[in-house]
């Protein structure tokens, strides 16, 4: 059964490593939702967090193919129920159709903070699970979303376990 799965990747911080990873997506037909790259907190390594849409066999194949890339040190599924995941959104909403208060009544329930107010728009920042962010986007869309940017997911396993352990 297809479902969203989050995969954590520890990669050598070499030029071209992002291309090596992403070119596999198209080559092997993996369906990618989101990809985030950041320093891993270990010298010489970056961490990639990738959300794919696929069944368990596809996720297993994804991990196995990733592990064949010489610059990939570790690739693991971060289990849904045993990981924390979060992403950040910046979203610019039109204030021409509705009052600011109407908008704020919704965004406040998502702990979204106002980061900028324009003549005809208001920009919020919010963070949370991808599902929560999806909900926020859906709720404010009737006001008119002028533009938005999402960071993609950051995810860590709960407890003491680490990807590099």
């Amino acid at each position: 059964m297809e479902h969203k799965q989050i995969i954590g990747l520890l990669v050598h911080n070499h030029p071209g490593v992002l291309l090596r990873v992403t070119s596999l997506f198209t080559r092997r037909g993996f369906n990618i939702d989101s990809l985030t790259v950041s320093p891993a907190g270990i010298d010489g390594y970056s961490r990639m967090t990738i959300r794919i849409n696929g069944d368990d066999a596809q996720a297993e194949q994804f991990i196995n193919q990733m592990m064949k890339i010489i610059d990939v040190k570790k690739a693991e599924i971060l289990p849904d129920d045993d990981s924390v995941a979060s992403e950040l959104i910046l979203i610019k909403i039109s204030t021409q159709n509705r009052s600011e208060n109407d908008i704020l009544s919704i965004t406040s329930s998502y702990h979204a903070s106002v980061v900028n107010i324009g003549e005809n728009s208001i920009t919020f920042r919010a963070s949370g699970t991808p599902e929560k962010i999806d909900e926020l986007v859906e709720e404010v869309s009737p006001f008119g979303i002028l533009e938005m940017a999402r960071t993609g997911i950051a995810s860590l396993e709960k407890g003491d376990k680490c990807l590099n352990s």
Partner: protein, 557 residues
């Protein structure tokens, strides 16, 4: 000791035991070729007519020796000409190190003359690639490249080196090469579970592939198959990994495999896959492949498990290890009844040949006549198409590393280069290239190389004057609309050979075959034999793409 980058390259090749490289010079590799001039007593360089030929030669060298092939080319077009050869090696897991020059660091990324991003281009067709921008990294990158190429599932690695790096000086200290490490991932419990499945099986089948040859595991496979008394079918890539004359060998499996291998696959209760990957040419219908069978897979590459076919018992590790451990765990068995059943099927396997004629020779007849003149150690190379399938069906391979064919990528034009690499590696052996007129036309420029180096290759052109395999598909699936498969070429291969300085002979029909072939094999000179084949010869039997043995075609008009 202070050496230039180019000298470091030469020293590192020597560290790895490389004494032969293939290649073609050019602007960006002038420094490297200057070092090769200096090291010419230690490293033999074979100059091809075209970089593609050099890449296939490095591939043929690797396939027939088990060593890592090395090819060198210049930047830009030199590098892009390697692409087909690298992709061919990648698909068949052949170890190769390709060294390309590039423009100097200060000219990189400026669309300079003969600049190309060969690392970007070859990313999907190499195990790994490097661009070495600093001479201090050079030696270790070369060492790492060889280790990657030869470790685990083998394959090509490319090293791109800007020209200034090959000229810069740096301290070099010789190192003994690290041996490739192959991790055994399969655990004791895996072996026990698989052994139990094997001990319980009534109708087991071994489906082997090129991994057996790559791992040099032919002895282990033989011992295993004999102990569990199990029929052995092979992919095209596995030919030579199990002796064809052995009572358990039942031939090739897949699209042009025999009826008995197809029936055995469908009726087996257990399939033991050894170094093979269930490609579409073997498992046409992935859902129905071995439909009643429990499947065990032994492979070095974990990503092959469940990739095409669902596996019940995966066992990851070097085949030498996994096979011998599995053999220890299994009980000696006798599957007499099952083996007899398979033998019965093989009686239905024969296909009717086209009638005898004065005008044409039969491909099977030519192949059988060649087999009479070759020893089990001689090397057979093919190009791609009908002739390749006929050879895979008919030629009786007895030993590993005597067979070079582009199995995965299906590269027409592969053969002559690969034959050159094989002949360079094995001056004591006879190398026979079976090719077709279509494939031969693609890279026949390498006849110049054959002549320059006096390589006693016997080139057998099965000349049907058409692009036979594609034409066969047009007959079957495209209402006999022969679009662009009848090129009406007037090439006289005998005269052409002569123009390159190579002897040319012709076989017009079956009755001439024996004498002409004897004449060719008697001399120690290269020779091209133009064998006239009917354009209406087909490769049969054939399982149509996506189908099973139940849909097998055994007759065509």
């Amino acid at each position: 000791m202070q050496l230039t980058g180019s000298e470091i390259i030469a020293e590192c090749l020597l560290e790895q035991g490389v004494d032969t490289v293939f290649g073609y010079p050019g602007g960006a590799v002038l420094n490297i070729y200057d070092a090769l001039y200096k090291y010419s007593d230690k490293i033999t360089h074979i100059l091809s007519s075209h970089e593609q030929g050099a890449s296939h030669a490095a591939d043929g060298y690797a396939r027939t020796t088990g060593k890592c092939g090395v090819v060198i080319a210049t930047s830009g077009p030199g590098a892009t000409n390697l692409v087909t050869g690298i992709a061919t090696a990648y698909m068949d897991s052949i170890p190769m190190v390709a060294i390309t020059g590039n423009v100097s660091n200060d000219l990189l990324a400026r669309d300079s003359f003969q600049e190309v991003d060969i690392c970007g281009i070859t990313m999907p067709i190499t195990k790994h690639n490097f661009i070495v921008k600093d001479v201090k990294d050079l030696a270790n990158v070369i060492r790492k490249a060889f280790r990657i190429a030869m470790s685990g599932r083998k394959g090509p690695v490319l090293i791109d080196i800007p020209k200034d790096v090959t000229g810069a000086k740096y301290e070099y200290t010789a190192q003994t090469p690290e041996l490739p490490v192959n991790e055994l991932i399969a655990e004791e419990v895996d072996f026990e579970a698989a052994a139990q499945a094997i001990n319980q099986a009534q109708r087991p089948l071994i489906y082997m592939g090129g991994g057996v040859v790559s791992a040099d595991a032919e002895q282990e496979l033989l011992a295993f198959a004999e102990k569990i008394d199990c029929p052995v079918a092979t992919s095209i890539m596995g030919l030579g990994g199990f002796p064809s004359s052995h009572r358990l060998f039942i031939g090739t499996i897949g699209m042009h495999g025999g009826y008995e291998t197809g029936k055995a696959t469908d009726n087996a209760d257990l399939i033991i896959t050894v170094g093979a990957r269930f490609s579409d040419r073997v498992a046409g219908d992935r859902e129905k492949f071995g439909k009643d069978a429990v499947i065990i897979q032994l492979d070095i590459d974990k990503a092959e498990i469940n990739k095409n076919v669902k596996i019940n018992y995966p066992m990851i590790g070097d085949l030498k290890d996994t096979l011998s451990r599995l053999t220890q765990k299994t009980e000696k068995a006798a599957h007499t009844e099952w083996i007899e059943t398979v033998a019965e099927w093989s009686k239905n396997s024969s296909v009717t040949e086209t009638p005898d004629s004065e005008q044409y020779a039969h491909p099977y007849h030519i192949i059988e006549e060649v087999r009479k003149l070759t020893s089990d150690d001689d090397i057979i190379v093919t190009d791609v198409g009908q002739h390749q399938m006929w050879v895979s069906q008919k030629y009786r391979f007895e030993k590993p590393r005597t067979w070079c064919t582009s199995g995965g990528l299906g590269t027409m034009g592969y053969g002559l280069g690969a034959a050159i690499g094989s002949a360079v590696a094995h001056p004591e052996k006879r190398v026979v290239l079976f090719t077709g007129d279509g494939s031969f036309h693609m890279n026949l420029n390498e006849l110049a190389t054959v002549c320059s180096y006096h390589l006693p290759i016997v080139v057998v052109v099965l000349n049907n004057t058409v692009l036979g395999m594609v034409r066969q598909w047009q007959k079957l699936f495209y209402g006999r609309r022969f679009s662009q498969t009848d090129p009406h070429r007037k090439t006289d291969f005998c005269e052409l050979a002569k123009a390159f300085g190579v002897r040319g002979l012709r076989i017009q029909n079956d009755s001439q075959a024996e004498n002409v072939l004897k004449e060719a094999f008697a001399s120690k000179e290269p020779v091209v034999i133009d064998c006239m084949i009917s354009p209406d010869e087909n490769v049969l039997p054939m399982i149509p793409p996506g189908k099973t043995v139940d849909d097998m075609i055994t007759e065509m008009e």
